[in-house]
């Protein structure tokens, strides 16, 4: 059951990444897949497998159609960074986690950007910082919603 919910969640996050709703949406939407990765990494008791995180990132690269590997590596490094301070982050309330989430999402976005620069497909623009900022601001709402869903579906902690 939990596996189905997790897979479905990532599936919807992926579709939300690629949904063709114009340039404003592209500019402002947070990285839903990264948010979901952070959520599961923080709230599940067992450690996420880096390989699974990598594969999810690779699938995201395929859906977005940019250079293969950018999201994959950014996801793995982000989760690794999270695990170096996981005990502290878990002890905080979700609105207190906001700052950490911002830093992690920013690291994620910059890594994706670096990888794409290396492939020669992008330029720098300050709007790149908007996604992580909005993602971090949405974090308390995001965790509340997912916690509620998990409670409603009676999914125990894993």
């Amino acid at each position: 059951m939990i596996v189905v919910v997790v897979v479905l969640g990532f599936f919807f996050a992926l579709t939300a990444e690629a949904i063709p709703c114009g340039p404003f949406y592209a500019l402002l939407h947070p990285d839903f897949v990264a948010l979901l990765l952070l959520y599961w990494a923080i709230s599940s008791a067992s450690e996420l497998s880096f390989t699974v995180v990598w594969l999810i990132g690779l699938l995201q690269d395929m859906v977005l159609g940019d250079v293969l590997g950018a999201q994959a590596i950014a996801g793995v490094v982000m989760i690794y960074l999270l695990y170096t301070g996981i005990a502290r982050v878990r002890s905080l309330a979700s609105w207190e986690q906001l700052f950490f989430i911002f830093v992690l999402l920013l690291a994620h976005r910059l890594l994706v950007w670096l990888w794409q620069v290396w492939a020669g497909t992008v330029t720098w623009h300050f709007s790149l910082l908007l996604g992580p900022l909005i993602g971090a601001l949405l974090w308390p709402l995001f965790t509340l919603t997912l916690d509620y869903l998990r409670h409603a579906l009676r999914l125990n902690h894993t």
Binding site: L14, E17, I19, P20, F50, D61, L68, V122, T123, L128
Partner: protein, 279 residues
């Protein structure tokens, strides 16, 4: 979640390092072999299909929320526009016939208009510099890499990857995009490059005394054989002669509203060897 592939006994830093190496390998090989891109487009298709349904739902709600009054006034405006456009269309028909006759006399560019097919945009990826869309026609419909993609107004871009059911389109504004053009009514060959900005393209390497001026229309020149000649590309919106720069900076407003494409036209240019039917 189960630990796949990697036993947990290795330290996390080692696991991350191995994955980084693997990513470098995947990235480099995907840049080298275009087929990997095409396969990944195939794998992504189901997700993109669902995302298109989401976008469609979004658009429908948007339409539903538009008030009746707004729709009525739009209707009136469109009718008026139609009435105004009718004589122009007729004129264009006459001109096209005349043009065809003249071209036949000159024995040049004997292209009848090519075949087109309508495709829906099913996914987008706008990042500063990279502007990619995915449309829902693929090799099964005869789409090929390098195919011109049109939209209302003119050229939108070209196909860069194909899968059986979908294709990836790089817009004119993509940083890697470049299209051979000429000013309408002249034969000076020029290029229009993408800048990574959706509403501004550029003409590179023009000397400071360039004859190009604001308001000039640029159309495809047909050089290179990828785009047929005479399609709208854009209008020059600024020519900046900067003191110490060797080249003028020229901004071009694309003829197509690249940020809001819902449907596009895939164009199959008729082969040049095939002579036009006599008018």
């Amino acid at each position: 979640m189960p630990a796949l592939f990697f036993p947990r006994r290795y330290p996390p830093l080692l696991r991350v390092a191995v994955l980084i190496l693997l990513t470098v390998f995947v990235s480099v090989s995907s840049e080298k072999h275009p087929n990997i891109g095409n396969v990944s487009l195939t794998i992504a298709y189901p997700v993109q299909w669902i995302s298109m349904q989401g976008a469609r739902l979004w658009r429908q709600t948007d339409h539903y929320l538009q008030s009746r009054a707004a729709l009525e006034s739009e209707n009136v405006r469109l009718r008026a526009e139609l009435v105004r456009a009718q004589p122009k269309l007729l004129e264009a028909d006459i001109l096209r016939d005349e043009n065809r006759q003249l071209l036949a006399l000159l024995d040049s560019i004997p292209h009848p208009p090519g075949k087109v097919a309508v495709a829906q945009i099913i996914a987008q990826n706008f990042a500063p510099g990279s502007q990619l869309l995915v449309a829902n026609l693929g090799t099964r419909a005869g789409v090929f890499v390098g195919q011109p993609v049109l939209a209302a107004g003119g050229v939108a871009g070209q196909v860069v990857r194909v899968s059986p059911e979908s294709c990836q389109v790089a817009l004119l504004s993509d940083l890697d995009s470049s299209i051979p053009v000429k000013p309408a009514g002249s034969d000076t060959p020029l290029l229009v490059d993408g800048t990574g900005n959706l509403d501004s393209l550029t003409v590179p390497f023009q000397p400071r005394n360039t004859p190009l001026k604001v308001g000039d229309k640029l159309v495809t020149s047909g050089l290179g054989g990828r785009y047929p000649a005479g399609l709208n590309v854009g209008t020059i919106s600024a020519v900046i002669h900067n003191g110490d720069q060797p080249f003028a900076r020229i901004a071009v407003r694309p003829a197509v509203h690249l940020g809001r494409l819902g449907t596009v036209l895939m164009l199959w240019d008729s082969p040049a060897s095939q002579p036009a039917a006599a008018p």
